[in-house]
Structure formats: structure tokens, C-alpha cells
Point group: C2
Chain length 191, copies 2
């Protein structure tokens, strides 16, 4: 019987491998398009076997659906009542940064910018942005949802890509305190 | 003697060619690094001769300095007194979007994210971000400057990459009216 520590290590490794495969899949699919990518390409990028990719994700279509999608992110990001949603959004995204050095909104920006990014962009819009807009009362809900996402994307770009000094050094709770009220204003409306 | 219309066309063509060369140079240099890029590569990407690249930009070093730099952008963006700077920043960036389908802050994000993007990132920081921070009175000037840039980057990503419906359709003056006061609050401080 393996000790609990070994079990934890294995789970962590499996999780990291899964993330690495997803990341490679996102890059390949958004750059080259579904038809021109094979599971073998993605496996090679991640230095694992194609069989392991199949074991983790099933078919190429299943992998594409998961790699290009924002369903799970939307579930996590929108899992909060409206009066606290501003704070929840900021805190959840800052947690993502810590845990994965990634951010789903920033991922939408980068994948959408690539030659075959149209499906990523459409999924971001339908699975996350529109769902947020539908939650908002009052006029200009779509515009307010876009302003919210837009601000959060900028924050992620500063922290994860440009890694600008002050925003990166600022304690998480201070960033929540600075930005959540602004986000909440847009969520509550009106503009 | 050529008619004024032909002269205008030539100037427009020259300007577009110059922009295309700069764009290719940015992509090449930030992806591959200075040493691994030749003027011939950049010329080929733009479908012009290497001689034309030299005519427009001088040496490879000169081209790198201009392609990786934010001096001219900073000059245009910061050319305003502090009390009106919020509005000036938003309006100037929205003008960039209309005129070039590009944005210097978004360019900083994309070039910095590439394997050889360190010099682009450093230039963005020294030539634009720090210069903005130095203009700001009161405490947390660096953090406030970063929040300003961060918000403007998000706006650019929404308009130029994700092209989300409402932000893209919103008239320029409305976007200025919505976002400039927020930007100005950070510029004026305190947080």
C-alpha cells in the first residue's frame, strides 16, 4: 500500500500533466485550427504519449471541447450572489493566478488573437460573458459585463504578463479592496 | 509633376509599408530575439526588399530600437496636463484603435509574452509606465499608474482582440465619458 504522501504526489503530478496537455492543446488548436492538429502533436509538445492524452481527455473532439471552453471557469467565477459578485470575481481570479500562473480571461485574449482563435472567442462570449450579462439587472447589462471582464483582463495582463512591480507586490486583500468596489458598481449598474 | 492625389497615395502607401515592417519586426524580435533575426527575415515577412527596410529604418539595431520602444507612444499619450490626462489617455488610445487597429499598451502585453519579450517589457516599463508614475502626486504613484495602464490594456483587449459586442459598438465619446473619470481618479489619487 502506498503512503498518503505518495498518493498526494501522484495526484499532483497527474494534475500538472493534465494542465500541461490542456495548455499545449489550447496553443495548437488556436494557432493551427482543429483539422490541422493531431493528438500526437499535442502529446509531443507535452512529452507524453498519445495514449496518455486519450486516457485523460478521450477523443480529439473531447479535448478540443475542453481546451477551447470556459464552462468550468464560468461555473467557478459566477458561483456567488450578485451583491458579493464583485469581490468574488476579483478574489477568485487572484487565486487562479497564485495556483496556476494563469487566468481564464487572459487565456481568452491570447487564444482569440491567434489565427484559429474564433471558436475560443465564441466560447468565451457564450459560456462566460453572456452568462454574466444575463445576471445583471438594469440597462446596459451587456456593456457593463464587458467592462467588468475588460478590467479583470487588464489586471491579469499586468500581474501575469508584464508583471509590473507594484501590482505584483500588492497583497491580494489590498487588490481586492481597491478593485472589487469598482467591479461591483458596474455589476449593480446603472453606468 | 504628379498630382496632389498621387502624392497623398504615395505617402499613405509609404506609411502603411513602414507600419507593416515595424509590425513584422516586433513579432520576429519578440519571438526569436535580436541575434536570431535578420533584416532579410523581416523584409520577407513584409514582402519588400531588405534594401527598403534599410532605407526606412537604417541598421538592424536602429530598427530594433524603434520596434521594441514606446518613446513615441509615451510622448503622444502623456502630452497633456494632469487634470485632463485621464480623458486624454482614453481618447488618444481610442484614436489609435481607429487609425491603426492597434494599441501600444496591448502591444506591450503581446510582445512581452513572447520568448524574447524581455526588452519590450523593460522598454514599456521605463519609457511609458515609470514616466506616467513620475507625473503623479501623492502616495502609491507607481501602483496608481499601473492600475491606469492595466485598465486601458483591458479596454484595448476587449475592443481589438475579443471585439466584444457592446464595447465595440459604443460610440467613442460614451466610452470616454464612462472610463475617463475612473482613470482620472487613479491619476489624482489617493487610492
Amino acid at each position: 500500500m502506498s503512503s498518503p504522501a505518495v498518493g498526494d504526489d501522484q495526484r499532483r503530478d497527474a494534475c500538472a500533466t493534465r494542465e500541461a496537455i490542456l495548455k499545449a492543446a489550447r496553443r495548437r488548436f488556436s494557432s493551427c485550427g482543429y483539422a490541422d492538429v493531431t493528438l500526437r502533436d499535442i502529446a509531443a509538445d507535452t512529452e507524453v504519449s498519445a495514449a496518455l492524452v486519450v486516457k485523460y481527455f478521450g477523443s480529439k473532439e473531447d479535448l478540443f471541447t475542453e481546451a477551447s471552453g470556459f464552462e468550468q471557469d464560468a461555473e467557478r467565477l459566477l458561483d456567488c450572489e450578485l451583491p458579493q459578485l464583485g469581490e468574488h470575481l476579483v478574489r477568485t481570479l487572484l487565486d487562479y493566478h497564485e495556483q496556476t500562473q494563469g487566468d481564464p480571461l487572459l487565456r481568452a485574449v491570447f487564444t482569440s488573437s491567434r489565427p484559429a482563435g474564433a471558436q475560443f472567442r465564441a466560447n468565451f462570449e457564450h459560456q462566460l460573458l453572456t452568462r454574466l450579462a444575463e445576471r445583471l439587472p438594469g440597462p446596459d447589462a451587456q456593456l457593463r459585463a464587458e467592462l467588468v471582464c475588460s478590467h479583470l483582463m487588464g489586471l491579469a495582463a499586468s500581474r501575469l504578463v508584464l508583471r509590473t512591480e507594484a501590482i505584483t507586490a500588492e497583497p491580494k486583500e489590498n487588490l481586492v479592496a481597491i478593485t472589487a468596489p469598482l467591479i461591483q458598481n458596474w455589476l449593480d449598474g446603472p453606468l
